[in-house]
């Protein structure tokens, strides 16, 4: 791609130049243009149903009574696509009662990949504000132990509130830098790592021109520390799901590579087939969810098992 072509694209779509170059390198020109053409309204508005409280069919009926139309999603059983009155969802009785949680498809698929089971001991390393944590607790059916950690004390109140609303009570909330967690032996760990958030540029267009969004390598340093810690906290045979809402291989495949070279882990298959990774042949089992294909925020998800 010539400099002139990049300049033309930049004129048409206001975007940080480095980010634009990265997208073209990672995704190719056609996919990049599709991504930049997208508007916030192109992202599907979705909620997840809390099966501890209600069935899918009942919540569809209740939402309808409040003037909200919800349709079942093919990609995930608990997911509903809201097709009108999205602004009413957050104040609906179903929301207040913890029957639904507004949640993007990528976040739902991350927990689906973790596959939490009743009775397990699970750690969510960066839990606040708690959308994924609640989903984990729901799949655990309030049994076993769920440790929900977040480094930011100010974000814990929203985590606690969401857990309460969803009636998740098998949870221990901790407040520490996840890289310092030493109490291990978990069956499963979710590391939804801090990232530059390039995958959110459609729903949050101001990110396209943010300077911090191109600091992939700064983020990578933190991500490598966290993923190494996550693997060390797993029991043998335990599973870690690593995810980010970044599209960059620097924050995804390269981070996972850093642990593949040091400890005995293996990638394992993620059920379902939305958006396989196409950037690196070593990562054929991971999923890169592109907004232009799935009409949700971009995500990367990989499932790793500690072998030794």
């Amino acid at each position: 791609m010539s400099i002139l072509q990049i300049k033309r694209l930049q004129q048409k779509y206001p975007i940080n130049k480095s980010l634009l170059k990265n997208f073209i390198r990672w995704l190719g020109i056609d996919e990049t243009v599709k991504l930049l053409e997208m508007k916030p309204d192109d992202i599907k508005k979705t909620v997840r149903v809390n099966l501890l409280k209600i069935t899918i069919d009942d919540v569809i009926l209740r939402l309808k009574k409040e003037g909200i139309i919800a349709k079942k999603m093919d990609e995930i059983y608990e997911g509903l696509h809201i097709t009108n009155n999205w602004n009413k969802v957050g104040s609906s009785q179903s929301y207040l009662n913890g029957e639904i949680m507004p949640q993007g498809l990528g976040s739902m698929l991350t927990v689906h990949a973790l596959d939490p089971q009743p009775g397990e001991k699970i750690l969510d390393m960066a839990a606040a504000p708690g959308g994924k944590t609640c989903f984990i607790g729901e799949r655990m059916k309030n049994t076993g132990i769920l440790v929900a950690n977040d480094k930011s004390k100010s974000r814990l109140s929203s985590l606690i509130s969401n857990l309460s609303r969803h009636s998740i009570d098998n949870v221990i909330i901790t407040n520490r830098d996840a890289s310092n967690i030493k109490d291990g032996d978990f069956d499963k760990i979710l590391l939804d790592a801090p990232c530059t958030g390039e995958g959110l540029i459609v729903s949050h267009p101001n990110r396209k021109t943010s300077k911090s969004i191109v600091n992939n390598y700064d983020m990578q340093k933190i991500q490598i520390i966290l993923i190494k810690r996550a693997i060390s906290l797993l029991k043998i045979g335990g599973v870690c799901v690593y995810s980010t809402c970044s599209l960059s291989p620097i924050e995804n495949e390269e981070v996972v590579h850093s642990v593949l070279n040091h400890v005995k882990i293996e990638q394992i298959h993620i059920a379902g087939d939305p958006g396989k990774s196409e950037l690196h042949p070593d990562f054929y089992m991971s999923k890169r969810i592109l907004p232009s294909k799935m009409y949700c925020d971009g995500f990367f998800i990989v499932r790793l098992r500690r072998v030794k």
Binding site: Q93, L96, T143, S161, S164, S167, N170, T174, R176
Partner: protein, 136 residues
């Protein structure tokens, strides 16, 4: 002890389901929490809270929505959709029934709060609008 706090606050005899109860202090406020699981918090460091928060004790006592999950032996009363919206935002509503403490249910039989009825006026003690006002 938890029952005593609620009884002294409401003035009514109440019972809670038999499960695990915990106490935490967060930002100088005391919280009572509960879980159906025995959460061995001693084995984990930097514990901030656990289970569902049900009571906050500051200068005053606040009953939190989580309490609706564990409170028993309280009569239930159903209210209309219009009343539910009003009640959920912490407003008093008018209903005809005998005075007392009630778990409040909406037209879908969902627990949406707890209130004290006196002279046909139901005053919310717990309402789910708390999540919008305080639970951020």
């Amino acid at each position: 002890m938890v029952v005593d706090i609620i009884q002294s606050y409401t003035g009514y005899n109440i019972n809670l389901i038999d499960q695990y109860y915990y106490k935490f202090t967060i930002d100088k406020k005391n919280y009572i929490t509960t879980s159906s699981s025995n959460l061995d918090t001693q084995k984990i460091k930097y514990v901030y809270s656990c289970g569902l928060q049900i009571i906050m004790i500051d200068n005053d006592i606040s009953l939190l929505p989580g309490l609706l999950e564990v409170i028993i032996n309280i009569e239930h009363v159903s209210i209309t959709k219009k009343q539910s919206v009003k009640f959920s935002y912490g407003k008093k509503i008018e209903i005809k029934n005998t005075d007392g403490l009630y778990i409040v249910r909406d037209g879908f039989n969902r627990k949406i709060g707890m209130g004290e009825l006196k002279n046909n006026i139901l005053t919310p003690l717990i309402d789910l609008g708390w999540y919008l006002r305080e639970g951020k």
